[in-house]
Symmetry: C4
Subunit: 216 residues, 4 copies
């Protein structure tokens, strides 16, 4: 029987191949984590600078809540590990996935002045945990990007705390963060969000031309 860590590490590597195929983690972008243990907190997390389409389970690192690598291994966890820890705490998430798609990047910029993107009326919204109807209105906050991870983790904390219903957020010109109560749920949330962002991106475009449609 594989240990929980190995099993999660394999699933994180699988997610990497899936997202790489879609072009959502080009150039070693993106990072993923899954909770190995809640208390004390132990996270399986992708290493810094790895190609997500070529990850092996052996590449995945185990860190504690201070983002220190356990077991004396030499790798360096993703620089954004503090955001993963913050999200796990705020949402009791079992997995956190960060992708870096074209449409996520473009929309995070297009709607930055509004502070977020609202998406409603799409059947695909039902793929988000707890959503039972396409009439649901999902607000995806957009946070200014920041190289100071502790400061950014604070912004993430306050955002998730003040917006308890949101399933994801965007970092401006950076990408998407989403999560789930299981790793497959988090993977599903990535696919749902990336689809919706592209749908809004292409619809809004038209709306600007013709003026008869409000995309969000």
């Amino acid at each position: 029987m594989p240990s929980p860590f190995i099993d999660l590490a394999r699933q994180l590597a699988d997610a990497g191949r899936r997202f790489d195929h879609r072009g959502w983690v080009l150039g070693t972008s993106g990072n993923f984590s899954a909770v190995v243990n809640q208390d004390p907190l132990r996270l399986a997390i992708t290493p810094s600078g790895a190609w997500k389409g070529e990850l092996a389970a052996a590449d995945i690192l185990e860190i504690d809540e201070a983002c220190v690598v356990l077991d004396g291994r030499s790798g360096r966890p993703s620089a954004e590990a503090p955001l993963h820890v913050e999200i796990v705490r705020q949402r009791a998430a079992a997995a956190v996935l960060h992708t870096h798609s074209l449409w996520g990047t473009v929309l995070s910029d297009r709607y930055a002045a509004d502070g977020g993107v609202a998406i409603e009326g799409y059947e695909m919204l039902k793929g988000l945990e707890g959503v039972a109807t396409h009439l649901h209105r999902e607000w995806i906050p957009i946070l200014e990007n920041d190289q100071h991870m502790d400061r950014l983790a604070g912004v993430v904390r306050r955002t998730l705390s003040s917006q308890p219903a949101c399933h994801a957020f965007l970092l401006r010109r950076h990408g998407l963060y989403t999560w789930g109560k299981t790793l497959p749920e988090a993977v599903r949330h990535v696919e749902i969000m990336e689809f919706l962002l592209e749908a809004v991106g292409r619809t809004a475009h038209r709306s600007n031309d013709g003026g008869h449609q409000d995309p969000c």
Copy 2:
């Protein structure tokens, strides 16, 4: 010799891989069925919440006309099973396929006020059963999305009954339903429709800019 059910189950799983590759069934969206027996009606159908790119034949369920799973198996059929049963009845179809593509979603919204999209003049239309010339005019009805499956099944019944020539319909901001007299014919109809929707989507866009083209 494989039973008809197993053979159809394998073909449904193959269709899932094909459509997943194209990005038409992201995030466990979409659902597929094929007729195992006409009278009494028995359908092979995809389970609720499955990744369509990773389906195995063993994941496929068999249901009756009331959408009850046979053989005591524990899975839950797609929530949209009543629509499949309705389409099989109205069209004497051997297979029903529902995809959830970007362009299907975008166009189902763009043309919702018109009640449908008309497509004509494309050679690709000849891929639709019974169509012999690109001059054919295909009307794809757009139905308002609805979480009440029985009510929506009624709308589907009335739509198909009043529009006997249509090969497919769109649910608004939801996706495409098409069917065929065989499962391969239904797969072909999906590819034809998805192609045409994207072609119209990109052409209409231009038309709006330049004003010299009526896409439908």
Copy 3:
């Protein structure tokens, strides 16, 4: 040693997988041929209604100049076989490939009133046989689509005869025909043309918005 027919049949099947991956032959669209013998003319050609991504060499048919299947085999050659024969004659081509891409379809309609698309200034043009500089101006004629194959073959003959320099033509709202002195050259011409059509398609779009660019 494989016979010339078998070897060409395998290469045609390989081309099918390549183009299917790109989405250029959806829904059994497209057809391909290669010359097995020049005099009397013998063509290896794809059968009608086949999925191009799943072709086996055994699916390929051998026809004569009247498009009659040889060797008593039961398949039906592509309905557009007369166009292949015409192109082989007019251009002394060793292979003829017809794809059905999104951008080929969209551009064949956008520029139909001009009778063709002119493409110049692109390095990619050097991939066309006999072209040594990006300053080359390639004219791609657009022919009205027609279900009468003999009549359309006549239009193809007159077009190729009057425009001896062109490497390809478009059928309106139908797709691309190109060819080569070898089968790999014809495959290369498909990829070059599909790239150029998409580049022009996306550039022209912008030009219409901003008015500062003449795409062809």
Copy 4:
């Protein structure tokens, strides 16, 4: 233990498959090199006219600084080999990669009058060697395309000399050149640049419609 040449040849072939999957080297376009030895200079380089998705290590050629093939092999190196030699000298690069993507081609034309494209504010910029913040402003020079390789090599030399910070340049309507201190770094630079060019391409488009956004 494989020789350095064989090892690099395999990595170049791997890069070819990766970029072919993305559609960045259609129709035998693109060319790649890696430094086998610095003094005297020896480059492993792709041959002229090869499909980049089907390269074997045995197809890769070894050339000297005059672009002469060593070891009496009969192949012909890429016609753009002099540009590779020039870049290796100017940047002390270990690898040089030239892709030919849709968006690289479109943007190299759209911004030709400005002499280049400026990209700033994107997290993805941190994937470029030596860049530590998304606030970085990257200038990608655009050079007029030229069939005279010696003359073009001179333009490349002067451009890289006068712009010591740039990580890449575009040839107009031709494609992207980038490089790295290792071959994996060069591969990462390709993916970063192609992503950024598409992001700018899609954002600038919108900007032109709405006027409220300056993409560079």
